[in-house]
């Protein structure tokens, strides 16, 4: 089984050394030289009285300081569960994490005590959720919710916290921040609330920001604004970003690398441009084909993926995607494919498939895309 550490990573935009000098990137807090985040063979199950759901089945990936990784997949493929498991936020009554490790800055988050995890959450790793309408406390002023984070982690007094909160609102593009601090969530629009959520998340300058469908609940124009804001913040703060989404368009414009998940596994991971140009996994190809494009003719039919997502209550033998796959063979159904470097692809491109998509079929897609990636 190949682990995250063995992956050959593609050249990424180097971090500006002056940013480190300016204290924007907290390199001093780093205590080891490995990747910032290293998730290995993570497994999550949900156990109830009458059945067990295998939600995440051996997910491995790593993330460097200042890097952006997109995780795409359809509903129920384990994207969100992976991120919640990393921070120990899964419901304790039903969720089990039987195997795996999540090394962040040298510490395995899965083995940490709750009080230590509380210190890391919000200060070193922060999270943004999908629905800004319900993710803010309705009976607490925005200012109090914002100051709560900095007061917990940085020990600011009331005045300092207020200044910091106003500054944060300003940075996420909310006009008249001093007045807005006194207002309550219902006085903000959806896009503004998501900006507040982002402000709360970046309050302590975390080194890793996990955004779980940050733009899904918003209008398209607001979506674009929020993604632009995230991109800008990641760049100026030198944060690593893990962007979870089901929208390929979102990762295309935001992430350097993209991982595609299916049935609780990463089936393909590659630099984003490479993934879009040379998709290797039939599922990735299916996803790309099922998205409408502006430059294709209006009579071009979309190609949906046949079948339905796997019922994850049964344990798995073979490739989870095999029942829906046109390239599946006997081997696909019997032996589980693991992530390996794709034979006919660029650097850093790994796929878990016995029969990667043939060149000819990929070309059909590229033609459909008008030759661009």
């Amino acid at each position: 089984m190949s682990t995250a550490a063995e992956w050959e990573r593609p050249a990424r935009s180097a971090i500006d050394p002056s940013a480190i000098a300016a204290g924007l990137i907290s390199s001093s807090r780093s205590t080891n030289n490995g990747p910032l985040l290293q998730v290995s063979d993570l497994e999550v199950r949900f156990v109830t009285r009458d059945r067990t759901v295998h939600a995440v089945n051996g997910v491995s990936f790593d993330l460097d300081v200042g890097e952006t990784l997109g995780i795409v997949g359809e509903s129920g493929c384990g994207k969100s569960v992976t991120s919640l498991a990393m921070l120990g936020l899964l419901p304790r009554a039903t969720a089990r994490v039987p195997a795996g490790s999540v090394r962040f800055d040298g510490e395995d988050l899965l083995r940490l005590r709750e009080d230590r995890l509380c210190q890391i959450r919000g200060r070193d790793i922060a999270m943004i959720f999908q629905d800004p309408m319900t993710s803010l406390n309705p009976v607490m002023s925005v200012g109090r919710q914002l100051t709560e984070t900095v007061r917990t982690h940085l020990g600011y007094d009331r005045g300092q916290a207020r200044d910091a909160a106003a500054d944060l609102l300003d940075r996420v593009g909310i006009p008249d921040p001093r007045r807005r601090l006194r207002e309550y969530p219902h006085q903000f629009s959806g896009g503004m609330r998501q900006r507040v959520m982002i402000a709360m998340a970046i309050a302590c300058r975390p080194r890793l920001l996990i955004a779980d469908e940050p733009s899904t609940a918003l209008d398209v124009t607001i979506q674009a604004q929020i993604l632009k804001l995230l991109r800008a913040l990641v760049e100026t703060e030198g944060m690593a970003l893990m962007l979870i989404t089901h929208d390929l368009g979102v990762v295309a414009g935001t992430c350097e690398r993209t991982a595609v998940m299916y049935a609780g596994r990463i089936v393909e991971i590659a630099p984003t441009a490479e993934l879009f140009a040379r998709p290797q996994h039939p599922y990735t190809l299916g996803l790309l084909r099922s998205v409408p494009r502006l430059d294709s003719g209006h009579d071009t039919a979309l190609a949906p993926i046949p079948g339905a997502p796997r019922d994850q209550t049964a344990a798995l033998t073979g490739c989870a995607f095999a029942p829906r796959c046109t390239y599946a063979t006997q081997e696909s159904r019997e032996r589980l494919p693991v992530l390996t470097p794709a034979p006919s692809a660029g650097a850093g491109h790994q796929v878990a498939c016995w029969n990667p998509v043939p060149e000819a079929d990929r070309r059909a897609l590229t033609r459909l895309q008008g030759g661009q990636t």
Partner: protein, 272 residues
């Protein structure tokens, strides 16, 4: 609340009683135990100088009822405070911590609910002994299961709210999440229950006094005791029973109207 005439009437009634209680020495023509007339088998009824008449020991009934308002309001308030605070702690711990602690707390609450509330209060008073404080504690304790149960339900619902997950993801410690996020969002129905329970508590005190389990001091102008003492003299002086009974009904009605108004104002399901 503005669009609810019942709540305005109730609020006015309760407000008047509170005013009466606060200004009792100024309003009442005599003290609650002061004898202003002679002993009489058939005490005189209402007249100009004694609005509610005299009782058989020659005390002014109006003064006794005015001072009695202090007692009833105090008992209602304190016993609700006892029930509310215990219920708040037990209910929020049960709902927020869950698991075995939840089961343990709620089974004890179920056990208490299995007894008729009034009977349980009678039992507690026989244990604690008679006296004002014991009565308030007993009546408070028997209302704990209602508060605990209601709060637990609402805490359970709020515990899974998105903003709680968001707060956890930002490293807010559990106790702070309970106090600043979960409780403020689940307290509204409990406040409504508290007002309605206050009305019941006042009736319960009157009932306990009526049964002879009231405050030990016979001089205390407790409305329920006045009813009990004079119940056998109904034919000789209707005013002896009528006015204390009327006071109880009026105050309880007022509090209930306020509680209903609060429920309407705080319950989002009823619309605004």
């Amino acid at each position: 609340m503005r669009r609810n005439p019942g709540a305005i009437v109730g609020g006015t009634v309760v407000g008047l009683f509170v005013l009466l209680a606060l200004a009792a020495p100024l309003v009442a023509p005599s003290g609650p135990t002061e004898v202003v007339g002679g002993l009489a088998r058939t005490p005189p009824g209402p007249r100009a100088e004694h609005w509610f008449g005299l009782d058989e020991q020659g005390r002014d009934m109006f003064s006794r009822i005015v001072f009695g308002a202090r007692l009833s309001l105090l008992v209602g308030f304190v016993s609700v405070l006892v029930g509310l605070s215990l219920g708040l702690v037990l209910g929020s711990v049960a709902g927020f911590v869950g698991g075995r602690i939840d089961s343990l707390i709620m089974r004890v609450m179920d056990l208490m609910l299995a007894f008729p509330q009034f009977l349980l209060a009678v039992g507690l008073i026989t244990l604690l002994g008679p006296g004002l404080i014991q009565i308030m504690v007993a009546i408070g304790v028997v209302t704990v299961p209602q508060f605990a149960r209601l709060l637990r339900g609402s805490v359970l619902a709020q515990r899974e709210a998105d903003y709680v997950l968001a707060a956890r993801s930002l490293g807010t410690p559990s106790l702070r999440i309970l106090l600043t996020h979960v409780l403020p969002n689940s307290i509204a129905p409990v406040i409504v229950l508290a007002t309605l329970t206050m009305a019941t508590a006042i009736i319960d005190v009157a009932g306990l006094s009526f049964l002879g389990l009231g405050p030990a001091d016979p001089g205390l102008p407790e409305w329920g005791r006045m009813l009990a003492d004079n119940a056998s003299r109904l034919e000789s002086g209707v005013h002896l029973v009528l006015f204390p009974g009327f006071a109880i009904v009026l105050l309880v009605l007022g509090i209930n109207l306020v509680g209903d108004g609060l429920r309407e104002a705080l319950d989002p399901r009823l619309g605004r």
